[in-house]
């Protein structure tokens, strides 16, 4: 394959649609006789519904139906996500088929009306009373504590050597507790589902990162064959994990449509997304690190507790980064969950690695001051030659190259080592850094490739575009595999009528789909070759032929061959197609496969107000071969920006008495705005990984990892104040004790 298109900073194939307003997202699909549904959600965290009074709502203008647990058709609760079968189950709560309330914000009624305004108003007329029970709402509550048997496929506890003993023996060490609060994804597109029944067949346009999961979920709930459910999500307005499983609104829209016998649109209000879509759970972690005087780590402990739901078993794998980053003879890593009566938490951009690196990389920074060793140098000293916990060889670890690249681009050498040693007028200046990391995950993928007699190709996979540039990168990949110019290739996605794809998550999509496209192109070679019954390819076996330049060419005589178009035209065919399904190989067992990066941050801190402004940020990454230099840079920028929010602004505040989220809007849950985000630079090493499809790694998540630690470390450097709890708000910073 020649890489004519791959790697180029190609403009997005859907760019024109997006800048003209022509791009259609889930809520923007219309059906004749469409009705609008609005949810009523619970105002207690735990208990039983005593009474639902719907009379006023039923009588209100334009109302078609009010659905409650009293009159809702029964739905079967599918397996939760992560089980044997493809499923997008978010929670085992039988929402709307029970009088039980499991969390504040749980849907307890649906109002369906002619117009959105009517539905919204009638929803507000539904009166619900409850028998309330005490709820567990914090990490310190009486919720059930569990040490999970496994975390994904890995052991929950990793123990190498004697970490506590080594820590005790050490004189240069840090032993501290770090906290991260609940975060919410806050994709700007509101969760929405448009559902239309046609007899026993159901079509949903859903804000989904996993259309096949939605299909499976709805098929189970409504007792349908999966083939009778079509889920579409060709464009999603941001997901970040928040649209990875089917939250109640996804199945309540079809339920409402069934009740009223009309197509129904259900769009959650922003505050309802906080209420019935999980966020990143709150986590408390202890990290202890010790080193000898030369900076070699002698002990590494990371242990802590994350929240999960009472109706799911989500485990945020925050100890994962420490398993692979640094050489250390004594390592102890473990984690537990506490089940809370809150909307069940879920994956949010780099689950595990994001909060895990905040704690680990903050602790290493603290250690660097004890050792009086530069933080970059400390990370050079502790570079492992094999995976420190599995012992596996690295597939293609280029962390040190990324570290050096980032340090150079950032100008790390201008940093003076002492805290509070740099200033710009009144403002304290701080420079900090942290390591970024994210695993290489690959999932099953399938694709169909069709070439046409007009010289074009269509490539299809039911994967997802929510900003990553999926269609763009896959167009480039397919164009190179087929040897066609990108203009001749169209990539279609986000529809269960297309070949199967997994959830757009785990930064796995690019390589999982690319492997399938590659295999489909290989299949297509045989299919087209059979049609070449005359000419230079006649009678050849597939092995004697290569796909290139939009056709098939003899390997023994590269000049000899024929274009797909020519073969098809001669054969009197409009098109030829092939499909392939590819499972991930055993490479993950054989190699330690991860992406790495180094995040560098410069802050200005107002010493009187405790306000922190990031003025410069540089990220340098080792992510294998980059598929599209333009969209890749955007992914890094986006991850870093969300990390800046985590570091300084974002926190979901819950009223401890009721469980109500009190900042459930975009004015009070603060995500970064334009003015918060400086020039950000992103660089990459670009060395292809020999053990992944296309030599690529996924890049959607690594950008957020390490960012909060880089900011906290820069804030410490500026102020001599260590804040171990994000976001670093003025009150937290001013209250933190000052060193130096």
């Amino acid at each position: 394959m020649s890489t004519t298109a791959v790697g180029k900073p190609m403009d997005r194939v859907d760019g024109r649609l997006k800048v003209t307003g022509a791009a259609r997202y889930a809520a923007e699909h219309d059906y004749p006789n469409l009705a609008h549904a609005v949810l009523v959600t619970s105002t207690i965290s735990k208990g039983t519904i005593a009474e639902v009074v719907t009379a006023a709502a039923v009588k209100a203008r334009g109302v078609a139906a009010v659905v409650t647990h009293k009159n809702a058709p029964k739905m079967k609760v599918p397996e939760p996500f992560g089980g044997e079968k493809p499923s997008a189950g978010s929670t085992t709560a039988p929402v709307l088929n029970t009088d039980q309330v499991f969390w504040f914000g749980q849907p307890v009624a649906i109002v369906i009306a002619e117009t959105l305004e009517q539905a919204r108003h009638a929803a507000q007329l539904v009166r619900v009373t409850y028998q309330e029970q005490p709820a567990n709402l914090t990490l310190d509550s009486a919720g059930k504590v569990t040490t999970p048997k496994k975390i994904m496929t890995e052991a929950t506890t990793v123990e190498i050597g004697h970490a506590e003993r080594a820590l005790k023996a050490a004189t240069l060490k840090v032993d501290a507790v770090y906290e991260t609060p609940q975060f919410n994804h806050n994709a700007i597109e509101l969760h929405a589902t448009v559902a239309a029944w046609d007899g026993g067949k159901l079509t949903v346009h859903d804000t989904a990162q996993f259309v096949f999961g939605v299909q499976a979920d709805l098929a189970t709930r409504f007792g349908l064959k999966p083939a009778d459910v079509r889920a579409l999500a060709p464009l999603v307005g941001g997901g970040f994990g928040g649209k990875g499983v089917a939250w109640p609104s996804t199945y309540l829209a079809p339920l409402a449509a069934k009740v009223v016998g009309r197509p129904v649109k259900l769009v959650l209000a922003r505050d309802q997304i906080y209420g019935c879509v999980g966020g990143r759970p709150p986590i408390r972690q202890r990290v202890a690190v010790a080193a000898d005087k030369d900076g070699k780590l002698t002990a590494l402990i990371q242990a802590g507790r994350s929240a999960t739901g009472t109706t799911n078993q989500f485990v945020e794998q925050f100890t994962f980064p420490a398993r692979h980053l640094y050489a250390c003879p004594n390592i102890y890593l473990t984690q537990e969950t506490i089940a809370l009566d809150t909307c069940p938490p879920t994956f949010m951009r780099a689950p595990g690695e994001c909060p895990g690196t905040f704690a680990l990389e903050s602790a290493l920074d603290e250690l660097s001051y004890q050792l009086k060793i530069d933080p970059v140098r400390l990370r050079q000293i502790n570079e492992p030659d094999k995976d420190p916990t599995t012992g596996a060889p690295f597939s293609n670890r280029k962390y040190q190259e990324a570290l050096a690249l980032g340090a150079e681009k950032f100008g790390w050498n201008r940093r003076t080592p002492e805290p509070r040693s740099m200033a710009d007028g009144r403002m304290l200046v701080g420079l900090g850094m942290a390591t970024a990391t994210y695993p290489v995950y690959r999932m099953p993928g399938s694709a169909r490739v069709a070439v046409s007699a007009d010289g074009t190709a269509v490539v299809q996979s039911g994967c997802h575009e929510m900003g990553m540039g999926t269609a763009t990168a896959q167009t480039q990949i397919a164009a190179d595999l087929l040897g066609l110019p990108v203009e001749k290739v169209r990539f279609e996605l986000g529809d269960t009528n297309l070949p199967f794809a997994m959830v757009a998550g785990g930064s796995s999509q690019t390589i999982s789909v690319a492997a399938a496209v590659s295999a489909a192109v290989a299949e297509l070679k045989g299919v087209v070759l059979k049609l070449a019954t005359a000419g230079p390819l006649e009678g050849l076996k597939p092995a004697a032929v290569a796909v290139r330049d939009g056709g098939l060419y003899r390997t023994d005589d590269p000049a000899s061959g024929e274009s797909f178009a020519s073969i098809l035209q001669r054969a009197g065919r409009k098109s030829a197609e092939a499909k392939a399904e590819v499972m991930p190989g055993a490479e993950m067992q054989k190699w330690s496969m991860h992406s790495y990066g180094a995040q560098f941050c410069e802050v200005r801190v107002d010493p009187d107000f405790g306000t922190v402004r990031v003025v410069r940020f540089v990220g340098a990454f080792d992510v294998g071969r980059v598929m599209n230099a333009k969209t890749a840079r955007s992914q890094f920028l986006g991850g870093i920006t969300m990390g800046l929010g985590m570091a300084l602004l974002e926190e979901t505040h819950r009223d401890g008495r009721t469980g109500r989220i009190v900042n459930a809007d975009l004015a009070e849950y603060m995500v970064p705005v334009h003015a918060d985000v400086p020039a950000i630079e992103a660089y990459w090493v670009g060395d292809p990984d020999p053990h992944t499809p296309m030599g690529a790694h996924g890049i959607g998540e690594i950008g957020i990892t390490g960012v909060a630690a880089a900011v906290a470390n820069a804030v410490y450097h500026a102020t001599g104040r260590r804040v171990r709890r994000v976001p670093i708000t003025p009150e937290r910073l001013l209250a933190a004790p000052r060193d130096g």
Binding site: D11, G15, R16, L17, K18, V19, T20, G21, A22, Y25, A27, E28, T43, I44, G47, A50, E51, R61, T115, L116, E117, L125, R127, T129, Q131, E132, Q133, H185, A187, I188, E189, L190, L235, V236, G237, G238, A269, R270, M466, G467, K630, T631, R633, S634, Q635, L637, G638, G639, T641, M642, D665, L666, V671, P672, V673, H674, A675, V677, P678, I680
Partner: protein
């Protein structure tokens, strides 16, 4: 919860259960108005130069009129409370949040949405610059960003990158395309300044 002698409050408190008061407390006057109040009324909106006749309730916002009634779905709903800017449109050339504008209150003004910026196939310079600079990812906040940038340029107060950042802060991009948006806006602004010094 303190007991109350207020007769209006007694109606509320009747719903108290053993678990305590867990009942909606709406605004002071929670009774619905009579059925003849708020009925659909005729209105004429001028959108992207075209007159559109509508018969809708006064409580319909401009954003919902665009999206749900006229099916002009380029203007986006991200918060519905003036907190994200995805719904930004121009009324008489000024950028506003269409989610907090009643449709009926916009009657008589010239409404420009994202669908009205390109001239046929020719993109508005900001639209082209957004593509060039990859000034979006998911694309959902993009129409609002672009309409806001059109308004920003017309206002003429943003000179430096810092000015652009401050004066584009009413448009949230969760994907984090901010640096690219600033680059796109600045390129178009500077080009415009060169052409019309």
């Amino acid at each position: 919860m303190a007991p109350s002698d207020d007769p209006d409050r007694r109606d509320f408190i009747q719903g108290v259960t053993a678990g305590g008061l867990a009942l909606g407390l709406g605004a002071a006057t929670s009774a619905d108005p009579p059925a003849d109040v708020g009925q659909p009324i005729p209105m004429k909106l001028t959108i992207n130069g075209q007159d559109r006749e509508l018969q809708i309730e006064p409580r319909v916002t401009l954003l919902d009129a665009l999206r749900e009634v006229l099916h002009l779905t380029g203007s986006k709903k991200g918060c519905d409370h003036g907190q994200c800017g995805a719904c930004t449109v121009l009324i008489d050339g000024r950028r506003v949040n269409s989610c907090l504008t009643l449709a009926v209150a916009a009657a008589g003004g010239q409404v420009t949405t994202i669908e009205g910026l390109a001239k046929g196939e020719e993109l508005h310079p900001l639209q082209a610059a957004f593509i060039k600079h990859d000034a979006f990812q998911c694309g959902y906040c993009t129409p609002g960003q672009i309409c806001s940038a059109v308004g920003l340029m017309a206002e003429g107060h943003a000179k430096s990158d810092a000015d652009v950042r401050e004066l584009m802060s009413g448009n949230i991009c969760r994907c984090g395309a901010y640096p690219n948006i600033v680059a796109a806006v600045q390129e178009v602004q500077q080009l415009a300044a060169k052409e019309n010094p």
